[in-house]
């Protein structure tokens, strides 16, 4: 991580700002903890991918997403949906296969979308969201919206042809796209540093003649600052940027993953650097009382429990609608 932008010296924003970020991180964290519980209890079924530990990237991005912008995520997208403002109850309902889910149960945990909230969806094909995001930016060239498209994918996705094509296409056409690579150093069960010769993935931006930067993805303030610059550049006609946000997935690739592939002590540092710990420390350094810090988590838990209860009370997706909407 030698060349990444990292705040090592404590506070990176005002106390209220940090507090708000911590609250957002907790909203995502407890949302996913609850999803895990629901999955383990059998209320939710199937393969579910959590981003626990990676929330700061989404939190830092949240307020950069303008009203006409569009965000494209992967199967690991719950936090990104929350960052876009999708109501947690609708997300829970989707994960639970309920009629009130964002997609009425058609998307599930790994393929949900909420376009009214600028969340143009998860994608369960690695890398496939990148060219689609390029198209959203392309549309913006003609609709006068000034849209910036943000597409998020993992380190492993950098080796997928579609991502390469998307970056070159956006670069050649100078489209307003921000490519966010959440580098959690793992592609499922395989480490990225064995799958590339140079694990500094942001350097690939140079191949397309666009700016690339590696940043500390565990601090919302840093993400906001660096991604903010990329979004601004895009909006002002400067074209695409690749931002590699270093982070760590503190849990398995999917719920149930035995994580036997972990390197010894790998997560020790990550646990020290993860956003709830980091932001709490920053708040403490800024003089915040423990009660304030705890409230961020507490409020998030209350909100989340209520949303989950609401979703659990909703009816299952109605079988009678299963064939609707195949064609317009």
């Amino acid at each position: 991580m030698s060349d990444q932008t990292r705040a090592t010296d404590g506070v990176t924003g005002s106390r209220s700002r940090i507090l708000a970020d911590l609250h957002q991180v907790w909203r995502m964290r407890v949302f996913e903890e609850k999803v895990r519980d629901l999955r383990l209890a059998g209320d939710a079924v199937g393969s579910i991918h959590l981003g626990i530990g990676q929330e700061a990237v989404a939190v830092g991005t949240a307020e950069l997403i303008g009203p006409d912008d569009a965000l494209f995520a992967t199967y690991r997208g719950h936090s990104w949906a929350l960052a876009c403002g999708v109501p947690p109850a609708a997300l829970f309902a989707e994960v639970l296969g309920r009629a009130t889910g964002t997609n009425g149960g058609r998307g599930g945990s790994a393929h949900l979308s909420a376009p009214a909230h600028r969340f143009f969806g998860e994608n369960s094909i690695v890398g496939a969201g990148a060219p689609i995001a390029v198209g959203a930016a392309l549309a913006g060239r003609f609709d006068g919206s000034g849209r910036v498209a943000i597409t998020v994918f993992g380190d492993g996705a950098m080796n997928q042809g579609a991502v390469h094509e998307a970056m070159n296409f956006a670069a050649a056409m100078n489209l307003p796209v921000v490519f966010v690579c959440e580098n959690n150093t793992w592609s499922e069960l395989t480490p990225i540093d064995e799958m590339v010769r140079d694990p500094h993935l942001h350097r690939r931006a140079a191949a397309y003649g666009i700016p690339g930067e590696r940043i500390d993805g565990n601090d919302p303030a840093i993400v906001r600052d660096r991604l903010g610059a990329a979004v601004r550049r895009a909006r002002e006609g400067g074209g695409p940027t690749l931002v590699e946000a270093m982070t760590a997935r503190l849990v398995g690739h999917y719920i149930g993953d035995a994580e036997q592939y972990r390197r010894p002590g790998e997560l020790d540092e990550a646990r020290r650097l993860e956003p709830t710990v980091r932001l709490a420390a920053q708040l403490r350094a800024a003089g915040a009382p423990d009660a304030e810090i705890e409230r961020a988590e507490h409020d998030a838990r209350a909100e989340t429990e209520q949303a989950a209860a609401e979703a659990l009370a909703a009816p299952l997706a109605d079988p009678a609608t299963a064939k609707d909407h195949l064609y317009v």
């Binding site: 569009a70 494209f72 997609n103 009425g104 058609r106 998307g107 393929h111 979308s113 376009p115 009214a116 143009f120 969806g121 994608n123 094909i125 496939a128 990148a130 060219p131 689609i132 995001a133 390029v134 198209g135 959203a136 930016a137 392309l138 549309a139 913006g140 060239r141 003609f142 609709d143 849209r147 498209a149 042809g161 579609a162 094509e165 998307a166 070159n168 296409f169 050649a172 056409m173 609707d324 909407h325 195949l326 064609y327 317009v328």
Partner: protein, 345 residues
């Protein structure tokens, strides 16, 4: 291009627009359809490899860049980016018309068609639409290699959520494409490059936008119904004409749209003749001819002879014309097969 009536006012989709009739090649008819759509629908975009400044490798998109500016543009050789960006642009309100130069090349980016494009509307529960038109062309032409000769409509027809058409006449090259662009469903328009520069035909331009679907009764007949589509329609008609002189009366149905598929009409017509043959350029096994036979069989239509499928036998497509001629049945061999099938050996 000889116009037989004067150009109408700018047409619109709601009023019935005035029409003109022009002598156009199939390729020119495609061009006219694109011009009309770009003019009438400001949300359309037209892009792909070599389509804009060069006007397309077959010259089909000539002049459109000049006329419509930046809405018509060239792209890198990046089919995943072309198709993926079309999906995204469509989600955000555009109506992209993209070209995949040969249908064979769609396979480098098939994910964007099957896993992405076809899912948009359904998975979003109708919140998103993907009115993308993918124009491509396919088929065998003398000397073309195995990677430039396939007929792949069966792939697209096994993907619910996509519409698929295969124009054969210049008029349909125009009408189907306009219908596809106006449709809010993702649509694959499969043209045929051997038709682009074939003889000019009268083409009625303008006119109301058609709905996807329907069939064309290209020839009436009573001994058997021959169902076909695309460039092979010509072979079916030639065979039918030859057999008419030998006392075999064939009905020839061309299906310009394969999805939606006019199941009831086909079944009804087969019921009347009592025989069904399906003819296509694609490989027989797993070809869409199987689907046509299965639908008719599933309807319990009594048949006087077993259903017949004619097409490319199950092999790759060689480049040498002498080899292709052996594999792809011409109208002579088609006629012989149909004759024996109807009359017996």
């Amino acid at each position: 291009m000889s116009e037989t009536t004067s150009i109408s006012e700018t047409p619109s989709a709601t009023t019935t627009p005035a029409t003109t009739t022009s002598q156009l090649t199939y390729g020119q008819a495609v061009n006219a359809a694109l011009r009309r759509c770009l003019a009438e629908l400001p949300d359309t975009l037209l892009y792909g490899e070599d389509v804009a400044k060069p006007g397309g490798v077959f010259g089909v998109t000539r002049g459109l860049r000049r006329e419509f500016g930046e809405r018509v543009f060239d792209t890198p050789i990046s089919e995943s980016a072309i198709l993926g960006s079309a999906v995204g642009a469509a989600m955000l309100g555009r109506r992209p018309i993209v070209e995949i130069m040969w249908v064979d090349f769609s396979l480098v980016a098939f994910d964007q068609i099957v896993n992405q494009l076809a899912n948009v509307h359904y998975v979003s529960r109708g919140q998103l639409r993907a009115p993308v038109v993918i124009r491509t062309q396919q088929g065998s032409a003398p000397g073309a290699c195995a990677q430039h000769s396939q007929s792949l409509e069966a792939f697209f027809l096994h993907v619910p959520g996509l519409r698929v058409c295969m124009p054969w006449t210049a008029q349909d090259a125009y009408d189907l494409l306009v219908a596809a662009v106006y449709s809010d469903d993702p649509t694959i328009v499969i043209e045929n490059r051997t038709l682009y520069n074939a003889a000019k035909q009268d083409v009625v331009l303008g006119g109301p936008v058609q709905q996807p679907g329907g069939l064309r009764v290209r020839r009436e007949g009573s001994d058997a119904t021959v169902v076909t589509w695309g460039a092979f329609t010509a072979r079916a008609l030639e065979a039918a004409a030859a057999l008419a002189e030998q006392g075999v009366s064939l009905e020839v149905l061309e299906l310009p749209w394969l999805n939606p598929f006019p199941t009831d009409e086909v079944i009804e017509r087969v019921r009347r003749t009592g025989r069904l043959a399906v003819l296509h350029e694609a490989n027989v096994t797993g070809g869409f001819g199987a689907e046509v036979v299965a639908r008719v069989a599933g309807a319990g239509v009594p048949l006087r002879s077993p259903a017949l499928r004619l097409g490319l036998p199950d092999t790759r497509v060689p480049a040498a014309p002498s080899l292709v001629a052996e594999l792809l049945p011409g109208s002579d061999r088609i006629a012989a097969s149909l004759r024996q099938w109807v009359l017996g050996p």
